[in-house]
Symmetry: D2
Subunit: 399 residues, 4 copies
């Protein structure tokens, strides 16, 4: 038996699905609507337009698929590439690895740049690989903006510069699943060709919607792509949407929720949303330092503002941490994935959270570590975070 | 301007998504839960077991994919077939045609048996085609149990007999999207290998969940299938589920809702659910006859209990009917699809409906037809349905 | 066993609580908020201001009490009268009778004008009684604007003229429980001093909120009123509200819902709301005529637009009608109350309803009457209502 | 501008209304139901029976009124007393004072025992007063079990012993608004005659329901009570309930919610519910001690397990604390009431809360105090609470 009250809804601290604002849950919970009626078209338009603004798309198109982010990756690949095409991708965490696997299942040739976990996109090696591709066999470069497994943010603007320096015309595809709507994302400024995210992260909605932004170049690439596709066929989708419809039953509730989410984010202001995520994340990082622990992210510039992977002290089992937090205190943290299994736990700090709720997470983490005999002093992290959150106030208040 | 009150929620009479019971909407609307925790596994198990009972599966496995029924078709094909495989399929409506198209996009060779719309599976021609396939090139037979476009139910038990008579070992795949959980479905008794449905039909949930049942034979066929797949890879899914998880973020709310839906259906009793659908449908058919109109379904044995496609009188525009019903009375009916565009409208009568609500639909349809000058007398259908519903009562009450 | 599906939510046809729009239910379902914080005051203000507009109050104040309409009556009496005061009231239905009883329990002397049920305020007798009150002992005149038991609307403008002709200064208190927000109500124009309603009628909210409007004269009368009161003390309430608060825990959800309700009504337009209620009601009256039955209301000018009391044919039991409608078809109609018990059933047609839903009610009523062997032909009422609703369309559409 | 995200729903730490479990909010949010139908009676019965169990009533009856706790007090008095009756009551906080005021408004003679705030029922003085009442003029003794203003719990078992020692037959009425369903309450064991609470405290529901338990003696006293009453007349209510109904529109949603609440509490176990409240409260008390502050409650035996009134340090403004917590961190604490205005703030810790959420409240309180320059060290309270919550675990787990 555990000591927590079964029906008390603690916030979750997993890196998505995130805690959902009540207003968005209500926006998603709609009675049945005829998706072939004009009412649906009226609901879809603001969702599409809103995503463009959140992603920073000055042109191009947005697609919403009843799927997860993984489905979004598949749609990105299947709609733009053909058998025999070559893909360049770095592997520095579980999610970047999975995207590579997807390409390989399609029979594509993937040039993999293995990179230590905790680091981000190896820009120099990417530039070198692109320069070496004299015949232009590489059709696309894959980048995971925010590696959810390691809590590392990569430099997409830097990737654009590297590709430009190499003078290579490959498409740039960015997995923004755990960054978009939480951290700055400049689709057009960075020259992104396809960005992929899901409803259940920064948009704070239930899972079930893959969200893609495609540049005009990516839309053009769809014309000649020959990988097989049906469910994820964006040409079909585009044709249906032009007629105010959908190629199959759309997830009406999630689409209504997405429009509401964008309105909520824009009401706060995208810059304020990003600042809030930085603020929450920095408090967590201060707490981790207060505990005397370190993060998987190899340096401050790499630290993600949506998830922090905390390395367990030598000899301590990170899985035990996650299990005890859930079992004893009713609180969900993320486990370490892949290489980090048992070695790290992850604190998600994106979506609907507040300073007080974050402190609940940190105070609970301390109790768990103390329970497990980890060499961490109660209060050491909480106080560091309190100090930061208090000091950060004037800045926020000045806005 | 229309005369109806914008916020009055009339029931919909489209053939899915259906009207949703309040209790199921609440069951789907769950706060965020860690899908890597045991709590998720506890939620998943009854949903899977419940679907097996509803489909009549004595063995085999159920899979739940964050997708629509179309995604379910794709999973069925991609997980069991290999390049060069041959498929046998009849085409007798928009949805059977789409499944064929999906196979062709995968490069499969499809032997298409074109059949007049309004009829069902051409069992004799299928048997003949199977007999002709001496070398066993046909790996699977596709059947659309209930053609949502035409309101026609096909004879799946008959298909099994035909296949057995031909002594052919092809897999049998059945699109039960608009039949399962509303009309009798006997997976094991009929020797189905893969059945596909979605959450938004007989299960009365929001869209977003493709539901598949696979027989042991189908599971075995997955081992050697070589069509490319990632998102829809059921082997990955099976492996994750065995570990209590999911290969990507599961649609937790829909899964919780599915378990609740099964409980609700079983509380009523599956036989009672089927009887209720027959009852509602027969009332509609009496009304159509009362109007002096006919259905697309070519005969009583073919008539679907979930949707009725009503042929507009000569010279009358069925699209105008649907538009006026929506625009003037705030009521959604289905348009004619494909060949039936403009020639038929469809009345959906599955999911959460009652005699009184059905009568609201029929009375409104009469007003629309009168408004459009169709040769239909007000009350002619309503009274026929009232008569039937009253008369059917003792039978139902006797149960 | 009944034939209807337990979970199918048919609309109700009782004269309140009404069917509630989804948006209002969501507006009421709020997480806990500190009612001593400015957030509560911000929520309260638009609710109060909105009620003033809906009631047509150019001055005076609105009070919201956690109670039902009966509590509202008690507040009206307890806050303005003193022991020994005399009240003039007509009794023409269950609800007007109850208000009289309440006064008598307070020890007030009530001059009761008994009036046949089916008729409304006896204006001439009231005028005479006021003229006879030379010494001004009558402090207040009670009027039930819409007798929910009989479906009779009284003439409040006429009451004002009668009081003015008599030159009497009594306060005028109006029970608008089942009229306000559905039928025209002109607080200031009619010279109403206290109007009482509840959340669960025209405002389409859950029950639990008594809503009172007080004129400046009524507010002044509060100063010297000596009947005992605590919970319903409006002076306490006024003092608390002036400080942004409440004398006890306010029903925050209902207050939030009330603001949303007013916004919804005003979005439709109050005139349109009234027209819609007339429209729905007139269809019901045509149906009653089509059935060959008559209403309790003694003439067209008396007919309520929110509820119709239908007299059962000689020898037929109206209670059996209500019981069978509920038990067999899952549909709620109102029973006859008081003198009308067993002799009439009531059809509520206020709040969230549409033509199609109204037709569901009428079609079901026909089935019930047929089941019971009443001399009513199936379709006879439905067709009359369809005819009216269709014909009324152009008028509505012209708006 | 504040630094918190407007849509992040922090828990509240006011002493009611409490944080509400999602399941209870859903249980309250019901579509309209005919409250004159048997369905309502089926909903009411378990709510009534459940309250009896939670209150520890072996006999007597429960009444549910659409009102707040204040309305419950009024019903208790109005239904059992007559003009000229004498009441004995101690005054030791705002809420005990209000009940006295209510009696005085009814013209009752109240013998008031003023008691220092921070203390509880003065049992010896009560006993003395009862002994002095030789002629039995005192008809009832009022007791506030848990003074929400001071965070003091009184000894009701002791009150029973004192009354018994005095051999006095007065009724015993207990305000259990902020104790029942959170702290042990033994209606029959303590010989309580009337207990009053509301829906928005331990039952974790929205406000709007006054809940009363009456002993057989109290029921008997109703027969001859002559104070005026209508809305709160329990004889009317009893008569209506005996016929499966209600004297006016019942708050159907709250009644459904109440039944669900009892089920939830009993699922946890009432002893476990009480232990959880002790546990949460003790953590708060340790934190207060860690801060070097003291509580209003004059000693450990008086400390309430549902609310703690914390005395601000000399020269510090408790209102500033509450304002800054709300304005800067989006967190609601209770202000000091009456004598304690500006001198104390209150931490509510009843209803749906968990250790982690409680720590969020304590950590935030520390930030606020630091922001205001109070002499409190960050972490000093959090660590004390963490220590207690961790240490308390084995005990809880052993259960």
């Amino acid at each position: 038996m555990t000591a927590h009250q079964a029906f008390a809804q603690n916030p979750v601290f997993i890196p998505g699905p995130t805690n959902m604002p009540e207003a968005l849950r209500k926006a998603c919970d709609v009675p049945t609507l005829d998706h072939r009626s004009p009412a649906f078209a009226r609901m879809l338009a603001p969702a599409l337009a809103g995503v463009k603004r959140v992603m920073g798309m000055e042109s191009g198109e947005v697609f919403l698929l009843p799927a997860t982010g993984t489905g979004g990756w598949e749609a990105a690949i299947a709609n733009t590439l053909s058998p025999g095409d070559r893909v360049l991708a770095a592997r520095y965490g579980v999610f970047s690895a999975r995207w590579i696997d997807l390409c390989q299942r399609f029979g594509l040739e993937v040039e993999v740049l293995d990179t230590p976990w905790g680091e981000g996109l190896p820009l120099e090696r990417i530039e070198a690989a692109l320069r070496a591709d004299r015949t232009g066999r590489i059709k696309t470069v894959l980048a995971t903006h925010n590696e959810t497994a390691t809590g590392v943010r990569s430099d997409i603007a830097g990737l654009r510069r590297a590709m430009d320096r190499a003078g290579h015309e490959a498409l740039m595809m960015v997995d923004g699943v755990s960054s978009i709507a939480s951290m700055p994302f400049d689709f057009s400024g960075w020259g992104v060709d396809i960005a992929v995210t899901g409803s259940q992260k920064g948009f704070m909605l239930p899972p079930g919607l893959a969200i893609l932004g495609l540049s005009d170049r990516a839309l053009a690439a769809m014309e000649n792509a020959r990988l097989p596709r049906t469910y994820f066929d964006l040409k079909d989708m585009r044709r249906s949407m032009a007629a105010g419809g959908y190629p199959y039953t759309p997830p009406v509730g999630l689409i209504a929720g997405l429009a509401a989410s964008v309105a909520m984010l824009e009401d706060e202001g995208l810059a304020a949303v990003h600042a809030r995520h930085y603020r929450l994340a920095e408090g967590v990082r201060r707490a981790v330092a207060g505990w005397g622990l370190s993060t998987c992210a190899a340096g401050p510039a790499l630290a993600s503002d949506t998830v922090t992977a905390v390395l367990a002290p030598e000899g301590c089992d990170a899985n035990a941490f996650v299990a005890r937090a859930a079992g004893t205190y009713g609180m969900a943290f993320g486990t370490g994935l892949g290489q980090l299994a048992g070695k790290a736990f992850r604190i998600g700090h994106l979506g609907m959270l507040s300073d007080p709720l974050m402190l609940a997470g940190l105070a609970t983490a301390e109790m768990v570590m103390a329970d497990l005999g980890w060499p961490v002093r109660l209060g050491s992290g909480v106080v560091a975070a309190q100090d930061f959150y208090r000091g950060a106030l004037p800045l926020a208040a000045a806005a």
